[in-house]
């Protein structure tokens, strides 16, 4: 298979404008006749559904929660980037583009990233107009802060709840279209299959999570905006419901899966406290602006933080990366923390933690200033750990946070299945091998408000559609597939709970496909995960029936897909014989232990093609070229 990325050529600054100009437009009178399915109501999905509703398309939007307002985007804390240069500190679209390509360790498409930076400025305008209460200065203008790895202040924020406020803005726009009758919202529905007819995506099959009914929906276009798959590690900062099912089932119906092994481990999360742990909580990276990270100089030093004198503390990020200090990119900060703990210098009972210390900034700025900046985060930390960070340093440890991989899409966000689009965290694009802080919200909204509505319109205007409805045999086949899977899970021998499988998968992934990976470990993990899959289908314990509200059943389907994905992630990590961004192969490092890229052989996107049940996927490569930002070894020293 050949991948056609539909990347425009010529001057990068006009590529998107020219692409839009070349697009076919749908006649306003015909828009209503086109039906669009949007699966997902996070930033990407809600923004896309609302905007396409406004444009006049006949939209159906789906989510598995009870309301679109609860999508996982709600949990984003820190902020959203935009190249507004309101602070006059030298920012520009080109600089945001440059930082994102470099931050992604040269594994993203330049054209996509430039477009993202270009659109970033419109996003802020749109959100302000909707009434998103971004932080402001006394003079009434918008505030900015600098955020993980950036040397300019381009991050817009709403206290520590930026994702919540952006999502509520998109949700309100969506509700407005629902009221106007242009969008039909189908909440508590889980998409379980994609339906292709004559080579085009023409609908989906869902389970109604309240009644258990299997429901089919037909349309001219299907848009997936179903979020990331960090929960393949069981413990992550993602919401408990986040999963890969929608994109995985689309993968099985022909959509290639891009860069599955590119995952981001966030350096500042609250450490694990026990076996019962169900998820990990992020402490926003903005804390690194005022907190200093350290561990004891000597291994095995079990004294209390307060009893360790300055001379026996190692502020290791400041030591190793003097130019960026505590603000180095996430992948680098995470690996450094792991290194300290592996050396036996970790803190806390488990030894898997490092200190994030505010005592100096509290002294310098006063506790009130720190409270104003981070009050809600400090409260949250206290609530979870029972420790007061105004008095004791926080303990933090890296945790899985974001997945750069996802369905492969071309420049117009279309997957390898015609008529199937993919937006937001669910697609693979834009962040390469490492995402910069505050760039996921930007990407989700760029995709949803601005890019997808244009590209979907172009597809609709340039494609011929046969009328189809849900009585078509392809829908019946997909329904039978879904019902069959449900039956198998309900009828298995019920020896082990879904959660116990999920925990085991998570441990394997964290151990062998986490912050550091090597050939031996990955091969071992693949064998174990494939065995886990067999065992799952044999002996999973799912109580009740398929015809009722059944959370165990919902979860079982998700874990089944995560297990298969886990195996593919390890295969992808094994095939990529280099280190880049969040993908760190121990065999490929510089003498100082930094990631060693291999641009000659690995400057490509790995896109995996489904070859059938129990067969290994095959690898298709999309070569990457860099005309503007010359690949260089990232250096934050």
């Amino acid at each position: 298979m050949e991948l056609n990325s539909r990347v425009p050529s010529g001057d990068i600054t006009t590529r998107w404008t020219r692409t839009k100009f070349d697009m076919k437009l749908v006649n306003p009178a015909n828009k209503r006749k086109h039906s669009v399915i949007v699966v997902g109501s996070g930033l990407a999905g809600a923004a896309a559904a609302a905007t396409m509703g406004e444009l006049g398309y006949n939209v159906k939007c789906f989510c598995f929660q009870d309301s679109p307002r609860r999508a996982h985007s709600i949990a984003a804390q820190g902020g959203i980037n935009a190249a507004k240069n309101y602070q006059n500190d030298g920012d520009s679209i080109y600089r945001l583009f440059y930082d994102t390509v470099k931050g992604g360790d040269f594994r993203a498409r330049e054209s996509n990233v430039y477009r993202l930076a270009e659109i970033s400025v419109n996003i802020i305008d749109q959100c302000v107009a909707q009434g998103v209460p971004f932080a402001r200065e006394y003079g009434g203008t918008l505030s900015n802060r600098s955020f993980g790895g950036a040397q300019v202040s381009r991050t817009f924020y709403a206290r520590g709840q930026t994702g919540q406020q952006l999502l509520l803005g998109a949700y309100q726009a969506l509700e407005r279209q629902i009221e106007a009758g242009r969008v039909q919202m189908l909440a508590r529905r889980e998409m379980l299959d994609l339906v292709n007819i004559d080579g085009q995506a023409r609908g989906i099959v869902c389970r109604n999570l309240t009644t258990g009914a299997i429901e089919s929906y037909a349309a001219d276009v299907v848009v997936l905006a179903t979020g990331g798959y960090g929960n393949v590690f069981y413990l992550s900062t993602n919401a408990k419901g986040s999963n890969v099912t929608a994109t995985w089932r689309a993968h099985k119906r022909g959509a290639l899966f891009g860069n599955p092994c590119f995952t981001q481990i966030h350096p500042t999360c609250i450490p694990v406290s026990g076996d019962y742990q169900s998820k990990l909580t992020l402490m926003s990276e903005s804390l690194r602006n005022d907190g200093r990270i350290w561990v004891p100089l000597k291994a095995g030093d079990k004294r209390k933080a307060a009893d360790i004198p300055e001379s026996e503390r190692d502020y290791y990020l400041e030591r190793m990366y003097p130019a960026f200090g505590n603000l180095v990119p996430r992948d680098i900060a995470s690996r450094a923390a792991k290194k300290m703990c592996d050396e036996g210098r970790g803190v806390g009972e488990s030894g898997f933690g490092v200190y994030l210390d505010f005592s100096e900034s509290i002294q310098r700025l006063g506790a009130d200033k720190i409270r104003e900046r981070y009050g809600n985060l400090f409260e949250m930390y206290d609530r979870i750990t029972g420790e007061d960070p105004y008095k004791l340093p926080m303990r933090i440890y890296p945790a899985v946070h974001y997945t750069m991989g996802g369905l492969w899409v071309d420049y117009q966000l279309m997957t390898t299945v015609p008529g199937l689009f993919c937006l937001g965290e669910a697609n693979f694009s834009d962040h390469g091998a490492n995402r910069l802080g505050a760039s996921a919200l930007m990407q989700g909204l760029a995709d949803g408000y601005f890019i997808a509505p244009a590209c979907v319109g172009n597809y609709l205007a340039s494609t011929k559609f046969q009328p189809v409805d849900t009585s078509h045999s392809a829908f019946k086949d997909a329904e039978a597939n879904v019902t069959g899977l449900t039956k198998r899970m309900l009828n298995a021998s019920a020896k082990r709970t879904v959660t116990s499988f999920h925990r085991d998968l998570g441990k394997l992934m964290w151990e062998y496909c986490g912050m550091a990976r090597n050939e031996k470990g990955l091969k071992l993990a693949i064998g174990k995960i494939d065995a886990l899959r067999e065992e799952f289908w044999d002996s999973v314990n799912v109580p009740g029936t398929g015809d009722e509200l059944n959370q165990s059943l919902e979860n079982a389907g998700r874990v089944a897909d995560l297990i298969e994905l886990g195996s593919l992630m390890c295969r992808d990590a094994l095939a990529r014989e280099e280190s880049c961004g969040g993908h760190y192969r121990e065999e490929h490092q510089t003498p100082e232990g930094e990631a060693l890229r291999d641009d000659e052989n690995y400057a490509f996107v790995s896109a995996w093609q489904w070859e059938g049940e129990k067969k290994a996927q095959s690898l298709v490569k999309e070569p990457l070229t860099f005309d503007y930002v010359k690949p260089s070894q990232r250096s934050y020293k």
């Binding site: 309301s67 609860r70 406020q165 407005r176 116990s500 009722e548």
Partner: protein, 259 residues
């Protein structure tokens, strides 16, 4: 420590429900309340309990998505200041505690199963007018309108509502006033919200009254349990806007050509 739970079990909206008693031994003080329920559920699954695991709604487990929520000993979210159930930790309980768990009780929130209820009425209230009518692409520059920091902060205070429904559950009248007023106050404090301000209050309050919520008699239980600190002042603002909107009694210009 050992905790005894009395949990409301109800198979679906139409089935009769009943309280059931369960023991959870070995509860760690560092567990969250929902992690304690996870442990119970694993145990019920292993024992093949006839009622199956306890159904409760949850997602982010960080106190922000608004999915979780039920009554703990008669108090919505368990009664710790600014804390949702998912953020409540077992260190606030003692060995041997007997704890009663019930779903939100309100006619407008039918029980779906066990501790899970249907809060779709909240979405319908927002749909009736809880937004600024601005379509994608038509926005001026973000700094075109300066907004007083105080107004922006007041808007944010109200915008923090997570739509959990605790206010309704705590209210003896099952009123949705705190929730509805939070959105009216969020947008009402911002210049962007002014053009539709009165109309919005009118539409949202009318929608609230059309759902099965009770009316507000200023008891204040809602404010006491709200995990996001939404204040009764917002209800006062809503009532003022609603009164002004009704007083003006003119056909709302927004309705002409809307939709």
């Amino acid at each position: 420590m050992r905790i005894t739970l009395n949990v409301w079990r109800q198979k679906n909206t139409n089935a009769a429900g009943a309280m059931k008693r369960y023991e959870v031994p070995n509860v760690s003080p560092d567990m969250s309340f929902l992690e304690m329920l996870d442990v119970l559920n694993e145990d019920l699954l292993e024992k093949k309990d006839a009622d199956g695991p306890v159904t409760f709604e949850h997602d982010c487990r960080e106190g922000i998505c608004g999915s979780c929520g039920f009554m703990i000993n008669g108090v919505a979210h368990g009664g710790h200041e600014r804390t949702t159930v998912c953020q409540l930790h077992m260190r606030h309980f003692k060995d041997g505690d007997d704890v009663v768990l019930e779903p939100w009780r309100a006619n407008a929130f039918p029980v779906l199963r066990d501790l899970m209820v249907d809060r779709a009425a909240f979405d319908r209230i927002i749909a009736s007018g809880g937004y600024v009518s601005v379509s994608t692409g038509s926005a001026p520059d973000g700094n075109a309108i300066a907004i007083r920091k105080l107004d922006s902060d007041l808007a944010m205070d109200n915008a923090q509502c997570i739509g959990c429904g605790a206010c309704v559950a705590a209210c003896p009248n099952a009123s949705a006033s705190l929730f509805t007023s939070a959105k009216i106050a969020h947008l009402g404090h911002l210049p962007q919200g002014q053009p539709e301000r009165l109309e919005r209050a009118k539409k949202m309050v009318d929608q609230m009254n059309n759902e099965l919520f009770g009316s507000c008699t200023n008891i204040g239980e809602c404010e006491a349990v709200c995990p996001k600190g939404i204040r009764l002042e917002s209800i006062a603002m809503m009532n003022r806007d609603y009164a002004r909107a009704s007083f003006m009694e003119r056909p709302s210009t927004g309705e002409v050509g809307f939709g």
